[in-house]
Amino acid sequence: MCLGLPGRVVELSDKKCIVDIMGATRQIAADFIKDLKIGDYVLIHAGCAVSKIDEDEAKSTIEIFKELEEVMHE
């Protein structure tokens, strides 16, 4: 019960938050995310943002794989 996917915040106000998911947009509830800014990525589940996506973490995870790849090819 965990279908969730990333969306980019494109509109943000007191009343509403609109995210872009690969070109499609939808209004979602952002009540559970603090300090949200336009341009941030959030994980969306059932019309609600449940987590802010940490892009640095994502990048460093990919770095780990790239390093592993190099080690393997040695």
Partner: protein, 334 residues
Amino acid sequence: MSEVITLAHGSGGTLTHELINKIFYKHFQNDLLDSENDAAVFNAEGKMAFTTDSFVITPVFFKGGNIGKISVCGTVNDLASMGAIPKYLSCGFIIEEGLKFSELERIVEAMAETAKKAGVKIVTGDTKVVGKGACDKVFINTAGIGFIPEGRVTGGNMAKPGDKVILTGFMGDHGTSILLEREDMGISADLSSDCAPLNGLVEKIYEVTSNAHVLRDPTRGGVATTLNEIASQSGVDIKLYEEKLPVRDEVQGICDMLGMEPIYMANEGKMLVIVPGDVSEKVLDAIRSHEYGVNAEIIGDVLESKSPRVLLKTYAGGTRVVDMLTGDQLPRIC
């Protein structure tokens, strides 16, 4: 003329004639229709293809077209998928009383425009009007006749091991676009139905080969369901490659959000083309040279099989089965 269609417009009297003249004859003008007889009469020679389809789509007007456009495209495409050159269409209307004249005119105009684009004539038709609630605004049936040039043989049972499978463009546009309009999911996207007549594109294929094994448009149930049908009819396996499947980002995003898959979403302007491996590249180029085929891709191979099924080689390098759709896809969160 009144603003809305009433039961009286279907009763056969002056109002019916007014309806037919001011809407149907006005837009469908051609020599066969203009004879105003009970049937269209024409000479015919050689092998013919004959098909029929009924259209009950809701909403009647949608981004990318309307029920009229799709009623012409659907029948033209069914003829084209037999290698036939579509020639004549009939159309039968069942209209719910209360439908606005202006709406009917929009639908009929779209049919005329699409028919012209496809090079077909609408030569005979019928109109009935039913009471409120007896149908949903308008239902249309079209039947079509086409002529098959010598040497062209296609069929769902003709896919052979060694063939390649081509999809003529992005999958799932129609189904996804209609879903957004029909259900209130609150999702917006720059998406419209891909509804289009494909007989011109099919002729491009025949310019480079006479040996198209299977031509079929993946409508309800999407690419997955249509390929399952073909695999079963031909007694083969069809193996698809995930990275080759052409899908618009928006369609993928919407399907991901709703837990659906583009491979099961309907298409109304795409063709699956199965041809021998040695001609696949030039067939692909020919398709891409046509306006409705610019995003075509070779998406898979036809293989031998003891138990026909459709398989998908995934991004991760694994292989899984792509089953037939059972019932409609429903949005899910699991």
